[in-house]
């Protein structure tokens, strides 16, 4: 049935918000995986019933969950609903096995990266921040993880292999964690070139492969960060999020720690488009579904004050690909608002009147049915929202 599905990951479980194509009445299911952090959920572009979820816990580690029926039921890939079961019918338990590839054939030695105190620290797997399903194959999905690395599954999440050339890049020992850890949080698949993938790491920067992950290139030329004295530093930048429009994949938009940036050559060169924003610090950035030059950010006061300037929750829209911004406030709280909007917590739908969605650390999920002109909350009392993704069901 045509409609919209909004996948919401929170600190205490996952929620699914569903409406018909009118987007006026919403139903809410959840919490799924109650009590666990759900960093991200995302559906397959070629099979919307296939949804992957990253369920994680500082106590019990990482679990990957999968739904094959649009989020009505879930299982760990390889569990009794899946193909990998042992003779007792129990899951083989490999779906949460993220082990850095140190094999001679395909891997790289497990080196060290820079720790907060400047010493070197070995790579240690903690969690999956982001799941990016393939544009072609519902069984292929990428996982961006902490400590920063990229993994891929080609069996629906039942087993995972590292694309080790990224972690093994010569700059690896210079990578260092941001305040949230050393995480690979952004994975962008180029719809025009299946061998091209962009990733972003805090705090290393952006990287690109043009050969399906066999080699990687830092793409941080033009980024300037106050805390890095060298204006030409290849790595060390705290990139927060990268977004593209599928019809113009060489144009990238980036929300960096500070600065909103743009590249028109696949990330080879970046220039700043913060323009007249009240603050160019923030986390998410999104592109309108039908207008490649219309972009959205949510300014946050500063890196030490993670809430909107002046207590006013304002989305900013540029219809010119940056520099000229307008505040979108209709329906959003304009006083006493001190929530944050995290990097994966903003998404758009493909409705003719593009819908914009974002979740807050205060548990609200706001929705605009008209590209940002008007806003209202779909839900307002969820646990802190970590991620928001949409599926436009046809």
């Amino acid at each position: 049935m045509p409609g919209i599905r909004v996948l919401v990951g929170t600190r205490k479980g996952a929620f699914i918000l569903t409406s018909d194509a009118q987007r006026k009445n919403w139903s809410v299911s959840g919490p799924h995986f109650a009590g666990w952090e759900v960093y991200h959920m995302k559906g397959s572009p070629v099979d919307p019933d296939r949804i992957y979820a990253s369920q994680t816990s500082s106590w019990f580690g990482q679990v990957i969950q999968r739904s094959d029926d649009g989020g009505q039921s879930w299982h760990q890939p390889g569990s009794p609903d899946g193909p990998q079961v042992n003779e007792m019918g129990m899951p083989m338990g490999e779906s949460n096995k993220f082990v850095y590839d140190t094999s001679e054939e395909t891997g790289r030695p497990l080196t060290t990266h820079q720790w907060y105190d400047g010493t070197q620290n070995p790579w240690e797997f903690l969690r999956v921040w982001h799941l990016e399903p393939s544009l072609d194959d519902p069984d292929t999905v990428y996982a961006g993880v902490e400590d920063a690395a990229l993994f891929r599954s080609t069996d629906g999440g039942a087993s995972w292999n590292e694309l080790a050339a990224l972690r093994g890049h010569e700059s690896g020992p210079k990578w260092q964690p941001g305040a949230g850890g050393m995480c690979l949080h952004t994975v962008v698949l180029d719809p025009a070139d299946r061998n091209r993938i962009y990733v972003a790491i805090s705090a290393a920067g952006a990287f690109r492969t043009d050969d399906g992950g066999r080699s990687w290139k830092p793409i941080n030329q033009g980024l300037h960060s106050q805390y890095i004295p060298d204006p030409n530093a290849e790595v060390g930048h705290c990139v927060h999020r990268i977004a593209i429009h599928p019809k113009r994949p060489n144009t990238l938009f980036m929300q960096k720690h500070w600065d909103v940036m743009r590249s028109d050559d696949g990330g080879d060169n970046w220039f700043e488009v913060s323009g007249d924003l009240p603050s160019d610090f923030g986390f998410p950035i999104a592109v309108h579904a039908h207008e490649p030059e219309t972009i959205y950010v949510v300014p946050i006061k500063s890196d030490s004050e993670h809430y909107p300037p002046d207590g006013k929750l304002r989305v900013y829209r540029s219809r010119s690909g940056g520099n000229d911004w307008e505040a979108l406030t209709n329906g959003l709280p304009q006083e006493n608002c001190y929530v944050n909007i995290l990097r994966d917590a903003m998404a758009v739908d493909e409705h003719a009147d593009c819908g914009i969605y974002f979740g807050t650390t205060g548990g609200q999920v706001y929705f605009s049915p008209d590209g940002g002109d008007h806003w209202s909350p779909i839900v307002r009392d969820l646990p802190p929202v970590l991620s928001v993704e949409t599926q436009t069901l046809k």
């Binding site: 106590w59 019990f60 580690g61 338990g93 490999e94």
Partner: protein, 103 residues
């Protein structure tokens, strides 16, 4: 050779949900009953718990998981040390606990 011991194991709520069991399970453990023998048997019977109590590959206890035997915290004990008779005889459960934290 003696019969395998029937060991009672208490799991924290989140792991019960993953394994789809109630809070206490009973495992058959052959040979000397140790932490390692119990965890090996637990992961063999419930493979979805691999990686949630001990790390994959290294099999190191996850930092926020604790083990109790006969009301004693044995988390830092040698994983190959024999456990108390009360555990071996099933009089007391081997307890796997998520460390208390948070507000």
């Amino acid at each position: 050779m003696s019969d395998p011991a029937s060991i009672r194991v208490v799991l924290p709520q989140h792991l019960c949900t993953l394994a789809r069991v109630n809070s206490e399970v009973v495992l058959e453990v052959a040979g000397t009953v140790t932490q390692r023998a119990i965890l090996d048997a637990l992961e063999e019977r419930y493979p979805m718990l691999r990686g949630t109590i001990r790390e994959h590959e290294t099999l190191k206890r996850r930092p926020r998981v604790r083990f109790f035997a006969n009301a004693e915290d044995v988390s830092h004990d040698d994983p190959d040390a024999p456990l108390p008779e009360a555990i071996v005889l099933g009089q007391q459960p081997f307890m796997i606990i998520g460390a208390i934290a948070g507000g």
